[in-house]
């Protein structure tokens, strides 16, 4: 009768064509020992059907050929991010992240740190062999002081290469982790301790209690330049001086299991929650001539709001419409632009390269965009902009004192309302004035006091245009 054999791993491994019963690891490598411990714990706790292991880059990259459970391969160092995603999508899954010191402690350390800080529900198994194994024995963050590697041929010098990274101790500064322990696979006693730690980490996942981190001090005979037994002795004699074994934290007794999963809101419910009021759905209207508008100026002049207002009016009129902003990083004073397309059929692209209507509220935008306007199009430009550039052939240019008028009326922020009035008066949007006004009102829904005022400004601008144009 078989008393002890490997469970939780495939019967044979088809990594490179021919099936094999052996792993790809070098003789005496600690990875295989750890693989067996994880597979055993997974089966003994009855978690095999729920387990998803996120495989790293490094020697451990081929875990998915070995473990008989769900497996995912992650980009270098990104296993915690992938694990987080699985965690959020499949709350019944037991997530394991299996990583080495290059993957977890170097390129992916921030991922590790943030996932630990968020207390993601995952068991992280960190294989620390103090060296980059797969790429040929380069210095790792965990390489010991004075240890010779191919990239520290005279031994790691802390003055230039820093000190060995103590990942368990760093993570122990965080609030969220439930369990942190450092173990070793160098001899039988240590392997049995490691076995208990793996079980504990997976029990925490089974019970939904949070983040568990187990670091394994593991021999790399090939790159340590030692035979298997001596490499294990090196782990005990040298590595344990730098990385003391033991449980750093275990809060599994008091940690609370995570709350049951609330179903995600439907897309419909999400939109109903939003403050946009309901408008009738778009209607196909082949007779409507598509209007492409561009609004340009400085950030803070209400350029984007003006575009939204026009798009909202189009929405109220059952037109297909898009609003597409483009602005610099500055909240105020940078250049701002937005494109609005109003159409009688679904809009293909929201980008507007050659507008039918261009609104410019400053000089640079006039100089930049005026030449893009289509023949037969209209440019409405603020009167403060000197028209140094000649408008292109067949384009009507209207100079509108929007800024001056709004200043004179005591509402300097409302120059964009003046421009909206100009659009309505010139009838260039293809939209009805009542809808433009309704959209204007809607844009001040949160500040009702401004609705009347803007209506007043709108009418003043219309009056100016009737008198002067």
């Amino acid at each position: 009768m078989t008393q002890k054999k490997t469970v939780g791993m495939y019967e044979s491994f088809t990594r490179s064509g021919r099936p094999s019963r052996a792993t790809h690891y070098c003789a005496g490598c600690g990875h295989g020992i750890i693989h067996k411990l994880i597979a055993e714990a997974m089966v003994e706790l009855g978690l095999q059907d729920r387990t998803i292991i996120v495989n790293p880059i490094g020697c451990g990259v081929f875990g998915y050929y070995y473990w008989d459970c769900g497996n995912v391969g992650a980009a270098h160092g990104r296993a915690p991010a992938i694990g987080t995603a699985i965690n959020r999508m499949r709350r019944d899954a037991v997530v394991i992240s299996y990583q080495g010191d290059g993957d977890l402690g170097a390129i992916g350390f921030n991922n590790t740190f943030q996932a630990a800080s968020r207390g993601e529900h995952m068991a992280v198994f960190f294989v620390n062999n103090a060296i980059y194994g797969m790429t040929g024995g380069q210095m790792a963050p965990t390489t010991l002081e004075g240890m010779k590697t191919t990239t520290s041929p005279f031994g790691r010098d802390p003055l230039t290469a820093g000190y060995p990274l103590h990942v368990c101790e760093v993570l122990n500064q965080l609030k969220a982790p439930v369990y942190i322990e450092r173990v070793s696979v160098a001899d039988t006693k240590r392997i049995m301790q490691a076995r208990r730690a793996v079980h504990r980490a997976l029990e925490i996942q089974r019970d939904g209690k949070g983040y568990a981190f187990v670091e394994f001090i593991s021999p790399c005979p090939t790159n340590m330049g030692l035979d298997s037994v001596k490499a294990a002795l090196f782990c005990m004699a040298e590595m344990e001086k730098e990385y003391p074994l033991g449980c750093v934290r275990d809060r599994s007794a008091t940690a609370l299991a995570r709350a049951p999963h609330a179903p995600a809101p439907s897309v419909e419910a999400f939109f109903q929650q939003s403050e946009q009021h309901q408008a009738p759905a778009e209607e196909v209207d082949a007779s409507f001539k598509e209007q492409r508008l561009k609004f340009t100026g400085y950030g803070g002049q209400g350029i984007l709001s003006l575009g939204i207002c026009v798009a909202e009016a189009a929405r109220l009129e059952k037109r297909f419409t898009t609003w597409f902003p483009s602005y610099g990083p500055e909240q105020r004073g940078g250049s701002a632009a937005c494109s609005v397309v109003i159409s009688g059929r679904p809009v293909g692209s929201p980008a507007v390269d050659h507008p039918d209507v261009l609104v410019c509220m400053n000089q640079p935008s006039y100089e930049r965009f005026a030449h893009d306007v289509r023949p037969g199009g209209t440019v409405i430009v603020d009167a403060t902009v000197p028209l140094m550039e000649k408008a292109p052939e067949g384009v009507r240019v209207i100079s509108m004192p929007a800024i001056d008028l709004s200043l004179k009326l005591g509402v300097p922020q409302a120059a964009n309302t003046m421009m909206l009035a100009a659009l309505a008066q010139l009838e260039v949007t293809g939209l009805k004035r009542e809808h433009l006004l309704e959209a204007l009102d809607a844009s001040f829904r949160k500040k009702p006091a401004l609705i009347e005022k803007n209506r007043l400004l709108f009418n003043e601008a219309v009056a100016w245009m009737e008198k002067n144009l």
Binding site: Q3, T6, A22, G28, H35
Partner: protein, 80 residues
């Protein structure tokens, strides 16, 4: 299969059974065995290395060799 040949009839004592061709001759099991009843063979396996093998009848079935072995299928422990 190069499973160690069985004794005549049923085995009466616990013992490790080796898949000798998968053994990489790391020697971890030999060093770990508390009964000192494992050794590296004097012949080569198909990998070209000397596989671990069981000698004598001292095995207590403790499975220490199993846990020290980095390979999944080289060692299984049989018990009567």
């Amino acid at each position: 299969m190069s499973v160690q040949e069985k004794h005549e009839g049923k085995p009466v004592l616990p013992r490790p059974v080796f898949e000798a061709d998968e053994c990489k001759s790391c020697g971890r099991c030999v060093a770990a065995c508390p009964k000192r009843c494992l050794r590296l063979s004097s012949r080569l396996n198909s990998r070209g290395v000397k596989p671990a093998e069981y000698v004598g009848e001292d095995c207590a079935g403790c499975a220490i060799c199993f846990y020290n072995c980095p390979e999944p299928y080289v060692i299984t422990i049989e018990k009567p």
